[in-house]
Amino acid sequence: MKAAVDKGLRTGVIFGIIIVVIFLIGFTVTGAVLLGKLFGVSTPNNTMPSLTFFTLFMILIGVWTGTTAAQRSFFEADTWARAITAGVSAGAVSGLLAAVIGFLFGDLNVNKIDPRTYLPSVSPESIKMFLFERDPLTGSLMIFALLIFSALAGAVLSYFLRNNNGLKSGARAATDSISGVIHSERMTSLLQNKYARYVLLLVVAAILLILPRTWGSYWNYVFGTVGIYIILGLGLNIITGWAGQLVIGYVSFFAVGAYTFALLTAPEPHHIMMNFWLALGLGVLVAGISGLLIGLPILNLRGDYLAIVTLGFAEIIRILLKSDLMTPYTAGPRGVRDIAGPTLMGKPFISDVDFMYLIILAILVVTFLANRLQNSRTGKAWYAINLDETVARATGINAFASKLLALSLSAAVAGLAGALFASRNQFTGPDDHALMVSINVICLVIVGGIGNIPGIFLGAFALKGLPEILRETESYRLLIFGVLLIVMMRLRPEGFLPAKRPELEKAAAQKPLGKEA
């Protein structure tokens, strides 16, 4: 029983701190708003969400505390008593911490001291909500009670679910039958059916063609950004996902592509006014060459050093772009304006719908190329270098040349994304090319599933699409991603959609083995 109390106390402290932090960063409000949204109740801007949802939010946290505390332990038998003890102690400690914080801040409210001078996310309203709109003493007691009871409930619930065999086998039977249907012969043969594939393709194509016309320019913009990040992700995937070299300064190639395109098509500072497609091509080419040049001196460095060197390059490029020194060449901190939009045979097709089509086309092209590369001899060489560079070398792969190729191709793809980005915004400046872009791309590649193409689509949607849909989480986006990175490296480094190796032997085994060569 002692171990249960210990675990409970420890869990309680952890969750208590989490609750305090959530409160201090204002996520209590956001969480309640999101829950409200889940139930279809929207919260207008600048108003507080309903207390019900806040209560629900805290209950959920409490339950989570309880389930974590009551986890099965190595050292003790799993009993009711144990679960209850763990749950109650966890709930008590977290409740205590929450209550104390609530009381202290409630006191501030009473004395009309606004904490926002030092803690901008803690508004008097959020404090009131935390205390269930009561006075500090009552409010803190309430939150204490709430947390203890929901932790208890969580602990008991998890124990019950774990140990009730009827329920467990029932659940198992249900999931088995569902996965049975999914993996059944009918399904697999259906999916492999050529016609079914074509139908699926047609549906997707139809969606891609129709949606941009119908959902308005706002969504075209949002998903256009998602699209550009998909392209960036596909590019980074080549050098980092397949070849295994982390390149923190990936944004440098984005910048090269964007600025090459911009400077070739904008009236200032150079007034070259090149044709869109030509400039686009040059943007890609110059970016690719920059990848080659930057790669030459650094690709022999060990992993972490390589990563940091690229960071150095990226910052140097950004600072130079922003400096007065380079302004006559690069238009300096103001950026390049009036960049050309795409034209097809003389006719500009600059509307947001058309640009969306362009981005979709670019994604299709890059995905196609990436797919071909992944399964080729070159792609295997990259993956071999990733897994064990020394052995890859010993089997005959010129690792340096191979990595250089990967970096150049990655850079070229980033250049494409950069040029498209500049063209769409009709503007680009040094602030578009901050390190944050690289970090975003790294996050999406890793979280989605490092090395694998569907994962990148997923990651890009999650990183850039979701915050738009869940507007409230905008300011917490990076915080969540930071946590995700840490958690995923620990639990699931292969990403949410892990890459599966192709089944080459099975495919080839359709035909019997030929004679000896």
Binding site: V21, L24, I25, G26, Y118, L119, P120, S121, G244, L246, I248, L296, P297, I298, N300, L301, R302, G303, D304, Y305, A307, I308, V309, L311, G312, F313, E315, I316, I319, L320, K322, S323, D324, L325, E389, T390, R393, F400, I439, I442, C443, I446, S475, Y476, L478, L479, F481, G482, V483, L484, L485, I486, M489, R490, P493
Partner: protein
């Protein structure tokens, strides 16, 4: 003979070697040209300005050195780059800031000055408190960082550790931003350590200010560096740290609690960063969630420049980088805007031309 950062053989090693030497020579020539132009041809600045630059460089260098030691300690013992180290420093800076703020609101009236606050009334205690708080915050942050994020991945490939560190850095930065807001906060020093105050010396006819905060930072940095050196060289913990850095398994066989030593290393590294953070708050006067980013990278540059894994190297690198950064733009005749380019260029150049740094690096060769 074997270069630490490239395995396998000379066919490539030769080209590699040439490329690197070429890069180095190019860089050297460029620097010489700029130095010549700025110092001999244009001669824009008088001796007093140079002294001013050098002084601020030393002060800055002291802080960089403390942070750089943190990087080097962690790298030596775990062969990982603690990307989140800059954020640890930032947390320490916030600790110092909040201490000052808190003390500012405690009234300590005297008969002479009725509205005196604690901060100005007892500046020495206040400063000590600020450092205590800042160092504790950073040390704790370092401890939990290791415990939660890095320890479970002890055996993981380095790429994964680096990504985790990046994740931790992003997390801490954004946490600070969400907690304290993105605006930079003004650090109000006790009157005694007022930012503009100090001794004045005359150099070639012009006054040069030696600020109190500056001298204080410099002296404290030196004290801490000496303290750390003694710790590493003379104490039992220091011996254990060196043993674990050399050979984890053997140290463990000799009775060293490796986990504990690693934990303590992170605590010490955090503490030093915290001290640097508080110094930064006192001397520079502005803190926000981003405060740790640039000094973090620059301190890392310094650590690499001195030879990562090498403690005197980190100290040397830090001081050197501080001075170069302060004196550089003027000496090279380039815009002050490009100050950071100097640091990043040094980073890039050192890693390309001489990754083992000035005083040499710890080798980690794989066994075939």
């Amino acid at each position: 003979m074997d270069k630490p950062t490239s395995t396998s053989a000379p066919g490539k090693l030769r080209l590699d070697h040439y490329l690197r030497s070429f890069a180095g020579i190019l860089a050297g020539l460029f620097l010489l040209w700029r130095l010549y132009t700025a110092l001999i041809v244009e001669q824009q600045f008088g001796a007093d300005t140079w002294v001013r630059f050098a002084l601020s460089g030393l002060i800055l260098g002291g802080m960089y050195a403390l942070i750089a030691i943190g990087y080097t300690l962690v790298y030596g013992i775990m062969f990982m780059i603690n990307f989140a180290h800059g954020e640890v420093m930032m947390l320490g800076a916030f600790g110092g800031f909040f201490t000052f703020e808190a003390l500012r609101f405690i009234p300590a009236p005297t008969s002479a000055i009725p509205d005196l606050n604690f901060l100005d009334a007892h500046p020495i205690i206040s400063v000590i408190l600020a450092f205590a708080v800042g160092i504790s915050v950073s040390a704790t942050a370092g401890y939990f960082l290791e415990k939660i994020a890095y320890r479970p991945l002890r055996k993981a490939p380095r790429l994964i550790l680096l990504i985790t560190a990046i994740g931790a850095s992003i997390f801490l930065q954004n946490l600070a931003m969400l907690l304290f807001g993105p605006q930079r906060k003004n650090v109000v020093n006790p009157d005694l350590l007022d930012r503009g105050a100090g001794w004045t010396v005359t150099v070639s006819g012009n006054p040069v200010l030696i600020s109190y905060t500056g001298i204080f930072s410099l002296v404290l940095s030196a004290v801490l560096m000496i303290g750390l050196y003694i710790l590493v060289q003379q104490t039992k913990l220091g011996r254990a740290m060196r043993a674990v850095a050399q050979d984890k398994n053997t140290a463990s066989l000799m009775g060293v609690d490796v986990d504990d030593v690693i934990s303590k290393t992170f605590v010490i590294s955090g503490a030093l960063a915290g001290a640097a953070g508080v110094m930064w708050a006192i001397h520079m006067g502005l803190v926000n969630h981003y405060t740790g980013f640039l000094p973090g990278i620059k301190a890392f540059t310094a650590a690499v420049m001195g030879g990562i894994g090498n403690i005197p190297g980190a100290m040397l690198g830090g001081m050197l980088l501080g001075v170069i950064e302060a004196v550089g733009p003027a000496a090279l005749g380039i815009d002050f805007q490009l100050k950071d380019v100097i640091a990043f260029s040094i980073l890039v150049l050192v890693l390309i031309v001489r990754p083992s740094g000035i005083l040499g690096e710890k080798l980690s060769e794989e066994k075939l």
